[in-house]
């Protein structure tokens, strides 16, 4: 038998059909777990259900004859207990499928499981111009379907229990699953993509049924603590909240407030917009910044832009175009000030590209993209550009505090200096300094004193008031404040070490010693 129904399902089927359930919903409540059963047309399923009920006695007699192996011709018994006689004897009405909208699924499994709906969804997906070879299918249903489901469960609980004591409400196939089994294959076929339980590309459909939205309302008075208003939700009647309330409410209370079986709806549900979402793609690399007039992120004060361009935009814009992404998030291993250059091997960064319409790029395409970024501006340069996993990006921040950064600073001294005055720096190793949160960032960071290590320093004499100071420091050390002292709030500072007023005129980051992302051979 196609539908793999059991004899003891008959009572359940009769009750559900009489209550106004569609064929697929009947299968669900009979706990039919075979996907293909749901892929037949509604008419075929319903025809088979009726045929199954019709063969009731015929089958019993056939089984009986098979077991006893009496020589009696089976046709004789069949005549004696015809379906009609049986029905009138038990007082049950002739089983038939109700013509209206299904009480359980409000039409989801009746009107939206066919080729034409699959085509409609696929057309929307195609318009998005995504590139994908697999997809996952998601559906959102009106919350009140859970209320209707609960009512129907109470309606047929006794009959189901008679079938098997171990069956419970959880064994009923959910509308969501039945819908997916029926339709997602058709969508996949239409789009030429395999449908997986997990794919980076998600196609979401949904249904609304305003006529029955009120079904949930009595739950709010019965279980008020399940429906607490939240800021970002339009309605308190979320699916989760309704399910939770249904778990709490007693059967008697439920039946006092809600009809069992549910009332037949007069209209079918309406499909919501089909939406597509591709999981983010993560791009990593290292950047150099050659300009002292370029902020790392857009510099906006009081809604007004203070400087043209930014490192993140110069890198992200060509990527947004190539990946056809909706937006991005930029993050890097530390950051430099507007007036600081980043030289050497550059600073590791990662960009999360949101909802990319194209996600696959091979090595040579990535190299080409890197070239596009590098030719678009001489203020920055990118290397080691590559696609990475989300998990890998955490390696950039791992142990960031312990990492070493190398700097080169142009220093001015108030008192005249000789090359010999600079010899002292080579002897200083692992200098511990205490830095109060710099005044320039104190408005947005907590006030604290942090100890940082200056691993080593060396100096190159330029003239009587200038020299270059090379420093290797623990990440998180504020170099400018170490030099000028920040009103004496960094101790010791370079001025104190040299016993004169000093100032920092230029600063370059020479290297950021983070060994991620891996180098990409040119």
């Amino acid at each position: 038998m196609m539908l793999s129904l059991k004899d003891k399902d008959r009572a359940v089927i009769r009750k559900l059909l009489a209550a106004g359930c569609c064929g697929r919903c009947v299968l669900r409540f009979c706990c039919v777990g075979k996907y293909s059963s749901y892929q037949q047309s509604c008419e075929d399923i319903e025809k088979e259900l009726l045929a199954f009920l019709g063969t009731d006695d015929a089958e019993q007699s056939h089984d009986a004859s098979g077991e006893t192996e009496t020589g009696d011709p089976p046709c004789k018994k069949m005549k004696l207990e015809s379906p009609g006689e049986n029905a009138s004897a038990g007082g049950a009405p002739e089983p038939k499928v109700q013509s209206g909208v299904c009480v359980a699924c409000v039409g989801v499994l009746q009107h939206f499981c066919d080729q034409s709906y699959a085509k409609q969804v696929s057309d929307v997906v195609r318009k998005g111009e995504y590139r994908f070879d697999s997809l996952m299918f998601a559906v959102s249903l009106p919350a009140q379907l859970s209320v209707r489901e609960h009512s129907l469960w109470l309606h047929i609980k006794k009959e189901v229990r008679e079938k098997s004591m171990c069956l419970d409400k959880e064994d009923v196939v959910q509308v969501k699953d039945a819908f997916k089994w029926a339709v997602q294959g058709l969508v996949g076929k239409e789009l030429g993509a395999s449908v997986l339980a997990n794919s980076a590309f998600e196609v979401s459909v949904g249904f609304a049924h305003p006529e029955t939205d009120g079904d949930c309302h009595f739950l709010a008075t019965e279980c008020p603590d399940c429906f607490k208003p939240t800021k970002n939700k339009a309605s308190v009647f979320t699916r989760m909240a309704v399910v939770k309330a249904l778990e709490k409410i007693s059967d008697t209370k439920f039946l006092r407030h809600y009809p069992c079986p549910p009332v037949s709806p007069s209209s079918k549900c309406t499909p919501l917009d089909t939406t597509c979402l591709h999981a983010p793609v993560f791009i990593a690399g290292r950047y150099n910044k050659f300009s002292r007039e370029l902020p790392q992120t857009p510099w906006v004060i009081d809604g007004e832009r203070r400087m043209e361009g930014s490192v993140e935009e110069l890198i992200a814009n060509p990527l947004l175009t190539a990946f056809k992404a909706d937006g991005f998030n930029f993050c890097s291993s530390g950051r430099e000030d507007v007036d600081v250059r980043t030289l050497g091997n550059g600073r590791p960064f990662a960009i999360e590209l949101l909802n990319p319409h194209r996600a696959k790029f091979n090595r040579s395409e990535m190299r080409q993209l890197q070239e596009t970024i590098n030719t678009s501006s001489d203020k920055i340069r990118v290397r080691d550009l590559q696609i990475v996993t989300r998990e890998a990006t955490s390696r950039m921040k791992e142990g960031e505090e312990e990492k070493t950064k190398s700097y080169s600073a142009l220093i001015w001294t108030q008192k005249p200096i000789t090359p010999a005055d600079l010899d002292c720096f080579a002897k200083i190793k692992e200098l511990k300094i205490d830095q109060k949160t710099p005044l320039r960032v104190l408005h947005r960071r907590p006030l604290a004193v942090r100890q940082r290590h200056i691993h080593s320093m060396s100096a190159s004499y330029l003239d009587t008031h200038h020299f270059t100071l090379q420093l290797r420091t623990q990440a998180g050390t504020y170099i400018k404040e170490f030099v000028h002292g920040d009103f004496g709030r960094t101790k010791p500072n370079l001025g104190a070490l040299m016993e004169t007023e000093v100032d920092i005129l230029e600063l370059d980051v020479e290297s950021v010693d983070v060994d991620w992302p891996p180098a990409v051979p040119e």
């Binding site: 320039r440 960032v441 104190l442 947005r444 907590p446 006030l447 000028h484 002292g485």
Partner: protein, 183 residues
């Protein structure tokens, strides 16, 4: 009163940290006390550093400091000020005439230093308690008095009653050329 200025000679060098990131504001004759001038350095991020203006009597030739006290009354000490978190919870809120500390010179003359602006007290300079000479040697940097954070919505208006550098220089030069009116 004779004032010693060294403004001209400092400018043979590139702009200082204060020149680059701060705006100088002044309050002269604070609370009607002659020459008790305060200087407020306002960072572009709205944070304000309260310092003595170079014309303040304490900084005049030969003065020495005997003591500095941030305990401004029995019940209130600026040393107890604590701020926590990004929003600087717990900091004492100050109005223009809130005293920050009292400084006594070796000639037993006492001066009160005031907040000059409305805002939350972030920190006071405990270094000058141990080394009062800092205040004399570097009054506008390491010898600062306090750091105050004006409310965001008041960051543009807190300096309204204060003088600009130009206006201040004007006041000082007039003070030096015209004999002081004695009360």
């Amino acid at each position: 009163m004779r004032l010693v200025f060294a403004m001209a000679e400092t400018h043979e060098r590139a702009p200082t940290v204060i020149d680059r990131y701060y705006t100088r504001w002044y309050k002269t004759d604070m609370k009607g006390r002659s020459c008790e001038d305060h200087c407020i350095l306002q960072h572009s991020n709205r944070i304000c550093i309260i310092t003595l203006a170079e014309s303040h009597p304490i900084l005049q030739q030969g003065r020495k400091i005997k003591s500095i006290d941030y305990r401004i009354s029995d019940g209130c000490s600026r040393l107890n000020n604590k701020v926590s978190g990004k929003s600087k919870r717990g900091g004492q809120f100050l109005t223009e005439f809130a005293p920050l500390c009292r400084i006594t010179c070796t000639d037993d003359i006492e001066y009160t230093i005031f907040s000059c602006i409305r805002g939350r007290l972030l920190e006071v300079n405990e270094d000058i308690l141990k080394r009062p000479d800092l205040l004399l040697d570097k009054p506008s940097t390491d010898g600062y008095i306090a750091v105050i954070l004006p409310k965001l919505e008041e960051s543009k208006t807190v300096t309204k009653g204060l003088l600009t550098r130009e206006e201040y220089e004007d006041v000082i030069s007039k003070r030096n050329t015209q004999p002081q009116e004695s009360l």
